[in-house]
Amino acid sequence: MAEIREAFRTSPFGKAGLVIVGIFAVLAIIGPYIAPYDPWKTADQLEDILAPPSWRHPLGTDELGRDILSQVIYGTRITLIIGLSAAAIAVVVGTVVGVTAGYLGGPVDAVLMRFTDSFLSMPFIVLAIVIVSLMGRSLGNIILAIGLVQWTQAARITRSQTLSIKERVFVLRARALGAGPLYIMRRHILPNVLPLVFANMTLVTSLAILSEAFLSFLGLGDPTKFSWGIIIRYAFETGAVSIGAWWYFLPAGICIMLVVLGFSFISNTLDEALNPKLRRGQVVI
């Protein structure tokens, strides 16, 4: 814990990440109370259709005269829920696979790791769009699809950590005393891989938020909700680009970028604190 606090204290990026994510987290919680309009409320008058930013609508309106600022504020909650839940699923699946493969070793390890490798040779986004379009465009399915394609990193990280922990004396001693593999994995391995898993989860959250935006942009978002990706999709469908309605898609894109940056800064800082040697460079898509 002390190293983590120290890392955030000395790193300006780490601090920036905490501030950005903090602001959006607050917005996600209180959003519906501070949004100026109901995001679904359509315009009563013609001049409110695709209106540029004004005092009445600080970020303008869409083709139905709905307030973009309110949509972006409502979208914060949905986007964060999808990002965090999908990351949680990914990390749980990855940890189970990684710890099992690492601890049991042998053929189990070989099979699980080949499976992980073949997952890596498929673009995440292609798998996710297939899963969502077959299962249906709902919030739960989107979370599940993203979770199910993003687990490979966590599996690799926990596997290599498990390999080193299982040779430590306390594990050998537990085994000599007759502890079973399930007990050792739960009581000795898991507590020791959790900090790395947690650091990985912040990174996977940023990837999951990007993945949600990708899916929504391809028309696979939950049509009953506003997420940032869905707002950009609507802007794309309306042809906001060719009519110069920049206010329609600019704010949501900037929000995605800021939150993804915030989570990556936090994850970088956590990594430096937990594992100074860890080198990174993973990309989503």
């Binding site: 073949s118 673009p123 297939v130 935006a213 990708f214 391809l218 802007a235 680009v241 894109g253």
Partner: protein, 339 residues
């Protein structure tokens, strides 16, 4: 030479089980997923049970799962993905005619990613821990965070709509849509073969925005790799030797350091092909680029079962093959890889 032969055989043998797992996963995913493909295809409303039965038979879905699986494997091995129910043509034909468009875009993406990533990476490494290093690193991290489709929309708005320098979308202008008969379907190559300078310029103007967009998606990754690899070699003894011989700093960096740093960079670039293909899906959608991704998205909308299965398998096999080729080429260039 024996070493290389052995390595290639080993590497091919490793790829086979991977492909097998991939094929099995695709099969299970499509069969066990909720939602009946036949019902979905027929629209689900007021369909007679006889018609459903008939379609099941036609597609072999009435057989037990293991028979379906063996039939599927037999089909895939022959690269026979059946007919697309949406277009009525063989899926393989659809994929083959769209592949050149996707590849032309992908090559563009790799080119610009290398151009931006490697130059900025060298810049950052040479000026490590100075302000310009921090700025470049921030740019690298930023390029991870930008949603690529959004960047594409921004480019369209600025360069195509506001400045009106470039076309918004598609591969060629409308005037060529009916007159131009593609030969190879690689439009750059076609324009050169047809000796049509105007067409070449037109193709270039359509290609540049999507290619740069896709390139930026990989720039951050390559930039960070380059910076790390350069930092490592800049400390190496042979670089110090080169410097102490009094060689110009330019020569030391470009000739002595970069050449060695490039080896890991090139490999990693090859392995990023899966990510590149994923990025192509989004870029193709933004720019109405007539490639494989658009085909997949439309097949999904139409629940075109054969086309969905065929496209995923095709992309998976394609990426695995590219990775295999990159690995083998790499082992020829750098014998250290072969252990």
């Amino acid at each position: 030479m024996g070493g290389i032969g052995k390595y290639i055989v080993q590497r091919v043998l490793l790829t086979i089980p991977m492909l097998f797992i991939l094929l099995t996963a695709v099969f299970l995913m499509l069969r066990l997923m909720p939602g009946d493909p036949v019902l979905a295809m027929l629209g689900g409303r007021n369909v007679s049970p006889e018609l459903i039965e008939q379609r099941r038979k036609e597609w072999g879905l009435d057989k037990p799962l293991h028979v379906q699986y063996l039939n599927y494997l037999a089909q895939v091995v022959r690269f026979d993905f059946g007919k697309s129910s949406r277009t009525g043509r063989p899926v393989l034909y659809e994929l083959r005619t769209r592949l050149p468009a996707t590849l032309e875009l992908a090559f563009g993406g790799i080119f610009f990613a290398a151009l931006f990533g490697i130059t900025t990476g060298i810049w950052a490494a040479v000026r490590a821990d100075k302000t310009s290093d921090h700025v470049v690193r921030l740019f690298h991290i930023g390029s991870f965070a930008i949603p690529i489709f959004w960047l594409g929309l921004m480019f369209q708005m600025v360069f195509a709509v506001q400045l009106d320098w470039l076309p918004v979308a598609k591969r060629v202008s409308g005037i060529y849509a009916y007159t131009f008969q593609p030969i190879t379907r690689f439009y750059f190559l076609d324009a050169i073969l047809l000796r049509d300078g105007k067409l070449l310029l037109d193709v270039f103007k359509h290609w540049i925005l999507p290619a740069v967009t896709l390139g930026i998606a990989l720039t951050g990754f390559l930039g960070r790799m380059t910076r790390a690899a350069m930092l490592e070699v800049l400390d190496a003894d042979y670089v110090t030797t080169a410097r102490s011989k009094g060689l110009a700093e330019r020569v030391v960096i470009l000739k002595h350091a970069l050449r060695n740093a490039l080896i890991p960079i090139v490999t990693v670039m090859g392995l990023q092909f899966a990510i590149l293909m994923g990025g192509a899906v989004l870029t193709e959608t933004v720019f109405s680029w007539p490639g494989i991704a658009g085909f997949l998205v439309r097949s999904l909308d139409a629940r075109d079962w054969n086309a969905i299965q065929g496209t995923i398998v095709f992309i998976g096999v394609f990426i695995a093959t590219v990775n295999l080729i990159v690995d083998i080429l790499y082992s020829i260039i750098d014998p250290r890889v072969r252990y």
